[in-house]
């Protein structure tokens, strides 16, 4: 058995309860908390979070099709269709039918869209650096690999990640 010191003092006030040490909650809460500031910044550019995600992915790889963009951007497909239409109306992206497979619609950044995407990606990089720097000890360094490992395990085909052609 392990010595008791490894346990966070079983009743630091009364035992803490289930949720506050529950992995799925920690993930959701950490995601929210970590993103709050930057998402507020995104909104100052007149974008909602899903729109920023779309721009960021297109920045990495332009001309993605709707379904794929939906998967990796964590947005339901019919919602993304409408979001893309709005973004097109605002001149951020354009849609082009895929000539090989005419069911597909490919989404491309406009110059305006690319400009915003590049600015925000730059800002995001800076924000991430600052955030990781705040985590003393190994925690900051360990976090990304641990998350990546979790994702890889849960989504072996990279449906949710940047896989070239999943």
């Amino acid at each position: 058995m392990q010595p008791p010191e490894t346990v966070p003092s079983e009743d630091e006030t009364q035992g803490k309860g289930f949720v506050s040490d529950y992995l799925l909650y920690l993930l959701a809460a950490a995601s929210e908390a970590a993103s709050a500031q930057f998402h507020a910044h995104v909104r100052t550019h007149g974008l909602r979070v899903p729109e920023w995600r779309v721009l960021a992915w297109l920045h990495d790889r332009d001309g993605a099709m709707i379904t794929r963009l939906a998967r990796i951007s964590l947005i339901e497909q019919s919602r993304l269709t409408r979001i893309i239409i709005q973004m097109e109306e605002r001149g951020l992206v354009i849609r082009k039918g895929d000539t090989r497979d005419r069911r597909r619609v490919r989404v491309h950044l406009t110059d305006k869209g690319r400009q915003i995407a590049e600015q925000l990606v730059t800002d995001a990089r800076a924000h991430e650096t600052a955030l990781l720097a705040q985590l003393e000890g190994g925690d900051g360094a360990r976090l990304k690999p641990a998350l990546a490992a979790l994702l890889a395990r849960l989504d072996p085909d990279g449906q949710t990640r940047g896989e070239p052609d999943a």
Copy 2:
């Protein structure tokens, strides 16, 4: 300069891009992926995710007020008000005005609500155990502490956590 082997082979296909290694994305995607299965299970009980979160918190500490429940359950206040009303209509919770501070509304589990909450918490524990077991190496063990550290840093007052009285 570092030897190149420490770098993830700069063009494993073309360089991967920004998003797929961006902390805020990894957090959001990992949260989604990790929760997908269990959230589906929650829905089979006729509950939406926010409702499950409310039940889980009340399971830990009954009689929370709306504002606080909203913060820790990651739900916007006016939305939670309506969700609580719906849950009350379905007999999962009851609202009681706080007699000390008559602005406050305290939410309590009904027997029915508590029964569902307990069942789901049990299921959640089992699911979490299974999930962590899948992560070989130290990743599983390191993940929760790293997330907790991130949260603690971003939310020192425990507004988002189970603090007895934040």
